[in-house]
Amino acid sequence: MVPGIVDPCMVLVLTLNFHILGTPRLRSLIFVVGLHGALLGFLYPVAHQGFHAEFHGGPAALGALIRLGLLTAAIVGIKGLLIPNVMHRAVRLADIRPTLSSVIGFTPSVLLGGIGTGAAFLFASRLPLREGHEHHLLVPASLATVLAGFLVLVTRREALGQVLGYIVMENGIFVFGLLLIDAMPVLVELGVVLDLFVGVFVMIIIVNHVSRAFPEASTEHLRTLRE
């Protein structure tokens, strides 16, 4: 019952994942992560079956339509525009090096991402799925994206890279949320977005501090607190 457009989008998401894992260029990464977020934002109304039902239901659904539109705009706006912009500003102001580095290198990152995606598919195929969800890519794509985000978090040395990894991970979780839109009250959805916004915002503030305290903004420097 998931609209047919969702699956191609998921393929796109997965492709973007690989790009995120493979690119060392910060600007390109910020852009792609923004794109990633925006894409999911657009999927939000598409996946909202309850809305479709209400929409066909009659004029009472107009309020719902407005709500949906605002929410979509908020998600797309925050994830696709605001966050990339803030990040670009941070890069510019804090004079952060424009390339990222990886603990294990970029090719192995992509390779691991591939393995992770395969594992996600395997895992998802073994989970009992609800009728209508079995043949869709939502579950595996969600898990694969979470894994990809985690991989970026674990392997990137720079603080900003980790922030981006975190966003990717959140996006993966959001993909899963698409399955549940009907069941989940709007407030929680808003919470997701707000938390993402606030969380990332605070992170960026800290990254600014970090880059002022330690040039290079690499977390390699953040290793004085240890056993």
């Binding site: 990137r156 240890r226 056993e227």
Partner: protein, 655 residues
């Protein structure tokens, strides 16, 4: 007020005795006040015991507990009373002694602290032996443990003292946790923390209970190889504290063992034999280590291990007797153990107080730097001699009586039991004989080197006798040693009651007066005193005491110097060598290279083998392993994130 309420009050007064001094100005008078309150508390305790003795058993005093629907209680029974008597007596005497030994004006920094925690320690022990349930017991237990920690750490500006205090605390916490586990298991089995016997044995829980109790209380009591904390703590604590610790605190471990033994009435005989065996080993090794020491307080501390071993032997004997249903063995074992608890409390406190007097007078604990103190400190020397003879178990003093009970019990088992049971007892009795002979060697050494001969250092030559407040308690303890040794029948009734409490009235054993030659001991003591008097009279009549004085015969060498005297290390050398497989003596020899070497220096030490050769390496090994774990947390955020990922994947795949 019932005797149960009175004994609790007594404990609380004792605990509170040091608190007024916290707010009052620091002076010797306030210190005396602290002692006085403690004495008042202990006197109340004595009245409580007397009241209990008169009125017989009454229902325990109960309070609501911090737990749901449970109550905790206080009561005196035979075993409690048997432990209460030494507690009340020795803490009082130690407190008085402290007024001279640890004067506030001489110890402005920690005088108040020592008074405070000594009171807490005394009261806590009263609570322990009267507690009727695990919670009350543990409350008293921990108060005691922590108070003793601060007492050991009284002189915490000395590094060794800090190490000793920490080692004590570590061992003490092991003991506390084991006791904790013991009573929790009791709770799990019985559904109550009250001391109610377990009816089903042989289950994993009851086995664990007994093992935990053995480790926990054994650690507190200082059974070899769990004794590691004991020598250094006793050596570093102020002497009157050492007296209380050695005389009483470690006995609380014994009390715990006795109490747990009462909770598990259906123990197999093998456990009793095991206890007997560890007691024997502990006694032999304890005294062997003692022989090698040249610090008088460490030496006395190792003798505590020995005597605890003897007490545990008695307990093991009682357990064997209980298992096979032989009331006489049980009676001899438990009353021997409890009487030895008393005796050890008396003579070991006496010896520690004597050692304190020596330290106070001559300023060192090193036996080899003393000598000839008998002339300058005659009272201390005589009291110490009485303690020394008593601790060796020699007639006609108290140590002999308790050891005799245990010996007779062992001989009875060896002659009366089947071959396998008898074999343990048949090895334990010669073991005890070996212990006795070693103790004689050790105490001849201590007394001889410290008090006899000529002073080895100028400090020893200038030693002064202690004041009356210090000598009085020692004299009192010495008198107790003599009285119990000469008239053991006087203490037989309370031992009978304690033994009856131990068996829980099941197959009530015969009275001690019938089972052991206590009356004969008195007769023999009288006869012996007659012999001694006759001999002394003879020498007196012959005027030997007024004989002319001359130099000691030294094979024609007429300029003997005090440093030529035999030292404690040389005295013990052969014995240390005989036991070197266990003692691992450490010698530092000079390397002689030239024909005419310069000043050379030779040292030998007997360190604690378990501590140095087992525990420290083990700790280092564990710490080394732990240090590897530190690489897992090298401040790397990526690594931390990976642990999260890893644990999620692991748990998702863990079926």
């Amino acid at each position: 007020m019932t005797s149960h309420a009175l004994i609790l009050t007594s404990g609380l007064i004792a605990m509170a005795s040091g608190f007024p001094a916290l707010v009052l100005p620091r002076s010797n008078a306030v210190q005396a006040l602290t002692s006085l309150i403690l004495l008042a508390g202990n006197a109340a305790g004595a009245f409580a015991v007397r009241g209990w003795w008169m009125e017989g058993p009454t229902p325990p005093l109960a309070f609501p507990s911090p737990f749901d629907g449970l109550s905790v209680g206080i009561a005196i029974d035979g075993v409690s009373a048997a432990f209460l008597v030494p507690v009340l007596l020795v803490t009082s005497l130690a407190s008085i002694y402290g007024l001279g030994y640890w004067r506030q004006s001489e110890h402005p920094e920690n005088g108040v602290r020592v008074g405070l925690f000594l009171g807490l320690l005394s009261g806590a022990m009263t609570v322990i032996v009267t507690a009727r349930d695990g919670l009350m017991f543990l409350a008293g237990w921990e108060t005691m443990a922590v108070a003793a920690f601060f007492l050991v750490a009284a002189e915490d500006h000395i590094r060794e003292t800090r190490m000793a205090a920490w080692l004590y605390l570590a061992a003490s916490h092991l003991a506390t946790l084991c006791a904790f586990g013991t009573f929790l298991l009791l709770y799990a089995i019985n559904g109550t923390y009250e001391f109610v016997p377990i009816r089903e044995t042989g289950t994993a829980a009851s086995t664990a209970l007994v093992l935990l109790a053995l480790v926990g209380f054994g650690t507190k009591a200082g059974i070899m190889p769990l004794h590691v904390w004991l020598p250094s703590a006793h050596a570093q604590a102020p002497s009157h504290v050492s007296a209380v610790m050695s005389g009483l605190l470690i006995k609380m471990g014994i009390y715990g063992l006795v109490r747990v033994a009462m909770l598990v009435p259906d123990m197999p005989a093998e456990w009793g034999l095991f206890v007997l065996a560890i007691g024997t080993v502990s006694a032999i090794l304890g005294v062997a280590f003692a022989v090698g020491q040249h610090d008088i307080k460490r030496l006395l501390a190792y003798h505590s291990i020995e005597n605890i071993g003897i007490i545990v032997m008695g307990l093991g004997l009682a357990l064997v007797g209980r298992s096979v249903g032989n009331p006489v063995w049980t009676l001899l074992g438990i009353s021997g153990a409890i009487l030895h608890v008393w005796n050890h409390a008396l003579f070991k406190s006496l010896l520690f107080l004597g050692a304190g007097s020596v330290i106070h007078g001559a300023g060192t604990r090193e036996i080899d730097r003393l000598g000839g103190l008998g002339k300058r400190m005659p009272v201390t020397a005589t009291c110490f001699l009485i303690g020394a003879v008593a601790i060796c178990g020699l007639p006609p003093l108290n140590g002999f009586v308790s050891e005799l009970l245990i010996y007779i019990g062992l001989f009875r088992v060896a002659t009366g039991a089947d071959a396998s049971t008898a074999s343990v007892a048949a090895l334990a009795a010669p073991g005890l004989a070996l212990v006795g002979a070693l103790a004689v060697a050790c105490f001849v050494k201590v007394h001889g080197i410290v008090f006899l001969g000529a002073p080895r250092t100028p400090e020893a030559a200038k030693a002064h006798e202690s004041s009356f407040v210090m000598l009085g308690p020692m004299a009192a303890l010495a008198a107790c040693c003599v009285v119990i040794g000469v008239v053991p029948l006087a203490v037989a009734p309370i031992l009978d009651v304690a033994a009856a409490a131990f068996t829980g009235g099941v197959a009530g054993p015969a009275s001690l007066a019938e089972s052991a030659p206590l009356a004969a001991i008195s007769g023999v003591a009288g006869l012996f005193a007659g012999f001694l008097a006759a001999g002394a009279l003879f020498l007196g009549v012959r005027g030997v005491g007024r004989a002319p004085r001359s130099l000691t015969w030294d094979c024609g060498y007429a300029a003997p110097s005090a440093r030529m005297q035999y030292t404690s290390s040389s005295f013990a050398e052969t014995l240390v060598h005989l036991f070197s497989w266990a003692l691992r003596p450490e010698t530092h020899r000079p390397a002689i290279k030239a024909l005419f070497p310069d000043d050379a220096h030779f040292e030998s030490h007997v360190r604690d083998t378990v501590l140095e050769k087992a525990l420290f390496p083990l700790t280092r090994g564990v710490l080394w392993l732990f240090s590897w774990a530190r690489y897992l947390q090298a401040g790397n955020l990526q690594a931390s994130l990976m642990y999260i990922l890893a644990v999620i994947l692991f748990l998702l795949l863990w079926r």
